[in-house]
Symmetry: C2
DNA sequence: AACGTTATCGGGAACGTTGCCGAATTTTAA
DNA sequence: TTAAAATTCGGCAACGTTCCCGATAACGTT
């Protein structure tokens, strides 16, 4: 009733399945005339090889699994876009899994992906993931894995991230140079690599300009907007004159909370986000951001992974690729007293 | 080296594969003691049934395919979230495909999905799709299909959309009641169902209030921000006093263009979007929107599809579910002269 | 004339799983 | 005691595909 198989063609043309198979793959040992017959028949009845049968036989699937904390997040959806583009052009399909920032979900989805015989895994660690032994196991079983964005030093794998240190340094430097001294830093959970790197960039900039580091100005927050608000409110008790928010949701949550509290931006506090929203300059006020090249990160990560899969790269060679960020200064971080740009 | 199979267990315990299989599915005709042995061994070596082998055997995959125009779009990523939640809870996995608003890509991805033996298909039509015969073919081959958001009347299938007529009517009525008369309508390509429905709602509201319908105020645009700008500029020649943008990207593109041109919102023109962005009230000015319950739409669509797959619903019974929209009035559509809300 | 080549094709196994059929042993019933 | 029934398991085929190994001709070579 359904799709035509190689068997059907064999039966119809009075051939064996092996002959049909070889004819379709243009084997040299098949009579050109026979080939013609087979190919014509296959086309007429719209034959498509069954990828599932192939997967079972060859123990590979031409599928790469992507595990992200959240699809509904501009950064990740753009990264997925990059992944998808590369995968498509190199003949792979993409299965997307969400970990919902939960370690347990991440474990589960990774297992499912492996069960589905993905040829490789592209992961951005969940916020709840501090232990990466589940990934290490897979790596030891020779499954190609590439981490992107939320990477981990605990794992000797290929990593692709934004240049978090430099980006955070630039953002902090910019805030200092525009006259801010008490710069609050809003970060995602601390054990994630990018948190550390951004914090390091932040501290390095403070140090360069002799601004004292105050632990009370650092806060870690979960990802939903509801989680951000109390943290920002708490930070406000430390009388900061700037906010440096290290993430998409954090920046928007921070902006929302500040507006709700009626705190003037940038007159009272400056704000700069480490984020990826395309609407930054439509916001009120237009939000300064350190932009991450999400699409590029996705592309590079996918390329690395497929190279690993196809053996074009040594499995044992871990590597870290840092993609440059771009700081875009908008109104939300203007120095006080400076007229607004048009 | 890799994952353990039922054969390995059979060999290790000196049983046949069928016995092991039945032991694992808790068949009544297996000795409890044997069962215990098998289950323990399976657990100890972390046995997972091979879904690919199962797919091949049973000609089903417990996977549902989702085809959307774009992942990096708030509406769709939220809908996918809803789909994912339902699929997960009912034991299905989700494979996401992007059509990139291209008919050819849609054809291709749908074929791939079918080749992968998805148990059902959840589709939001691409902007380039006017012919749906590829889907009709699949339907005739008894593949469960549910359309969501961008549906088509040409197809006798289950559809889940927002209540576009009512939403558009409400938006237009609101604009009229706040003193606007020349209301420009920015829509996605015309042959898509939601375009028609929203246009109908728009016209019905005009009619109710005796506002003349002017064809010149209607424009169709592609989806990227670059496409929107010239269309908005063109519309401005018709001296509209309001914009009703029927989509996520359109609304943001419209806002960006108006700001670029220095046109005061809402003093000179009003703006209301039919969209799903969570940052609407952080924009400058906060943007009025007709919100679509994207998550709910995804959930309902997924539920319907799984019901179809599992035969809990007649395949022949087409149906249309309209989810209510919610209009949120913000600053961008305030009547002129009204003081801004706090 | 005997043998090796070449061209062209078929048979069978394997990938992991389930389900049908049957077989062996033990238990139950008449 | 003997047939019937229940219990417990193994063998085999099948899903679609590829690949290894042969098989059969026709042909050319010594």
């Amino acid at each position: 009733m359904d799709a035509i198989t190689i068997k059907d063609i064999a039966r119809a043309l009075n051939l064996s399945t092996s002959t049909v198979s070889r004819a379709l793959r243009d084997s040299y040992e098949i009579n050109p005339e026979t080939k013609r017959l087979v190919v014509e028949y296959a086309e007429r009845f719209n034959y498509r090889p069954n990828p599932i049968a192939l997967s079972l036989k060859e123990n590979r699937s031409r599928v790469i699994g992507v595990v992200v904390p959240q699809i509904a997040n501009n950064y990740f959806s753009q990264a997925i876009n990059g992944i998808d583009a590369i995968a498509y052009s190199r003949g792979y399909q993409v299965i997307i899994f969400q970990s919902h920032e939960s370690y347990e979900r991440e474990l589960l989805t990774v297992q499912q992906a492996v069960a589905r015989k993905v040829d490789g895994l592209l992961i951005s660690l969940s916020g709840g993931t501090s232990d990466v032994s589940h990934l290490r196991d897979l790596q030891e079983r020779k499954l190609p894995i590439v981490l992107f964005d939320r990477v981990s030093k605990e794992l000797d794998s290929f990593c692709v991230t934004a240049d978090n240190f430099t980006g955070a340094f630039a953002a902090t430097e910019h805030l200092i140079q525009s006259g801010r001294r008490r710069i609050a830093h809003l970060a995602i959970p601390s054990y994630i690599s990018i948190t550390q790197e951004r914090l390091a960039g932040y501290r390095a900039a403070l140090e360069k300009y002799g601004v004292p580091y105050d632990e009370n100005l650092i806060r870690y927050s979960e990802f939903s907007q509801n989680d951000v608000e109390p943290v920002v409110n708490d930070l406000l008790n430390q009388s900061p004159d700037a906010f440096f928010a290290a993430g998409d949701r954090l920046a928007l949550g921070c902006l929302a909370t500040l507006k709700k509290r009626g705190i003037a931006i940038p007159e009272t506090v400056s704000l700069i986000g480490f984020t990826n929203t395309p609407v930054a300059d439509l916001l009120a006020p237009p939000m300064s951001t350190v932009e991450q090249p999400a699409l590029d990160i996705g592309q590079v990560a996918a390329e690395q992974l497929i190279n690993l899969i196809e053996g074009k790269q040594k499995l044992t060679q871990p590597g870290m690729i840092r993609m440059p960020t771009r700081m875009i200064v908008r109104e939300s971080s203007q120095p006080v007293g400076v007229s607004k740009p048009v």
